[in-house]
Subunit: 196 residues, 4 copies
């Protein structure tokens, strides 16, 4: 089976997710001053964070499928499962933004991040299982410490949101920074393969 | 004629359909508790069901066109006809979700599912007609029992919604589970062809 | 210059246009009966008409670029000009639908159809100019009677809307039916070229 | 690394940005006259300007990546950074349109244009750095006077908006016209390369 359409469909869904989040940025009518813009700051900041997260997922998705040749029915559904959790980002982003870091929205934001991370993990393993021993992707991700530390942070952020949403949001930002560094592991392995 | 643009356009439309449905998930301002989230449960569940349905259609569309080489004007329009009914999913999903399983929205949801199933059937046969005898797709779908049982379930769900919407929704879930198992028939035939 | 990205971008824009029009289909809260659905009929019918029109444009765009190899800066902008007028379809569709065939919205709907037709004509001629004498597209469209009769109908529909919007809408439906028959002229020429 | 997915994702995001801006064009219920349409004029004009700007970015993005073969992690993120600022266009366009050329929205519109121009500049230099000396893109853009004059105009437009928003909008229109002339520099160099 070809992977082109899976990539095209995923690109489409992620492009829409990343773009419709901006629809939450709305200024009330006849509010044309800088003070009105300041009101939007929490919505804007949650938009920036989610934009970066979707960017990270797209980036990693790109790398992951670059090292994939064949796509099975299981991989198709594992991919749709990931897209499902990503599709909830606009909702949680809007909810956090509208409620200025309230505990419950922050915890739910963390929960959706956690589920997306789990879905990514499942997809990764569906691909590795299909590639068999000597899997290019398995070699590339190695011990995958980033993939292991991220869900732990999200999991911790959920209860911590009720203590202080600042801690949870700090954890979300920390994980984002962790991943912003592009996944050189896969890149390195791919470059080596292309040389051979 | 090339099939690439038909696939790209269909991917685009289905990606948008699956994503804009989430815009219905909205929390009223200053509602930041778990109880407010619970209010969204019917909207969320109808979103999950429709997400799975669009996923199934995308999946089957993917398989169907994988076994297709040439695209005629008739196939283009049969495909647009299918996309038209799929494009009504966000509306029926929102209506069912907003009315907590009321009979009429449930029946209309079933009606749109039925029309999409009929449109899929027409598209399938337009492709088979174009492929002629010995059609790869015809061999792959065989007796197509899933394709025959689904519209019967939708048809039954329409009047049953006025008896109890639970029965209708049960039928929608039943058909979704039926299709969630990826269409190994087409996959098997394609793998065999690729071997030859 | 490659035409792939121009096609991909146009597919994306047209896929979004055709899909976001459905966002106008909205049932007020706690309106869950068939009578409430009947209220939506004008919105639904204008959606169906516009869906068919965008489908026709996508279809013809597909054929037109299939016979095109090279893309110039002029063609890129002529294409964006067409997409601009198509992007106004969701607005005019919503306006006509919300006002049950009022004269001014109907006239404006016709005006946007007219401008899209003119933009299509300009694009077609930019491609023919680039292809030079013996242009494949020029041969394919021949005397282009459909392309000539359509803008005349739209032009007539604009003042006629103030006499009776029914006449104008009848003209819009008439032109849609005219084009629904896929453009066998281009198809035929392309098949012959592929044979040679 | 392949550039196809980067192009496809960027096309998707830009196609959505250019299309969702039209959702701001809304006529209030029971407003079906030409006077109601006239009310929309500022919203419409800001839509036209932003449509042209996104068109220009898409156009230049198209040319820029046409002369690019390899994509690095840095280029991926520089591209996402550009898409981030472009994704704010629907917000600033709506804000300017809703407030009929008020100073603050005009200044913010200019600020987002400025940031997008800077992001484009960064992306351009990430590509040139990757291509090394003898870079095709560096040769093509030459002294890049358009790329240098545009941010200066945006920068000037921000404080000038508080003097008179007309001056700022005049500058935005001036820069748009400057770029509307397709970038023949890159085109010329590419044609020469293809000849060799």
């Amino acid at each position: 089976m070809e992977k082109n359409r899976l990539e095209a469909f995923s690109d489409g869904v992620m492009a829409i997710i990343i773009t419709i989040m901006v629809l939450e940025l709305k200024v009330p009518p006849h509010a044309d001053g800088l003070a009105d813009l300041k009101e939007l700051l929490p919505v804007f900041l949650s938009y920036v964070l989610s934009f970066i997260y979707v960017g990270i997922y797209w980036n990693n998705h790109h790398h992951m499928f670059h090292s994939t040749k064949h796509v099975t029915g299981g991989i198709l559904w594992a991919n749709l499962h990931l897209l499902f959790w990503l599709s909830l980002f606009p909702f949680t982003t809007a909810w956090v933004g509208a409620n200025h870091l309230a505990p419950t929205p922050t915890a739910v934001y963390g929960f959706v991040l956690l589920m997306a991370a789990i879905a990514y993990y499942i997809l990764q393993h569906a691909i590795i299982a299909q590639q068999g021993s000597g899997s290019l992707l398995a070699t590339a991700i190695g011990r995958d410490w980033k993939g292991k530390i991220s869900p732990i942070c999200y999991l911790a952020a959920i209860p911590l949101a009720f203590l202080s949403p600042w801690i949870s949001n700090g954890l979300f930002i920390f994980v984002a920074i962790l991943w912003l560094v592009p996944d050189r592991r896969i890149e390195r392995v791919l470059v080596q393969r292309d040389k051979v």
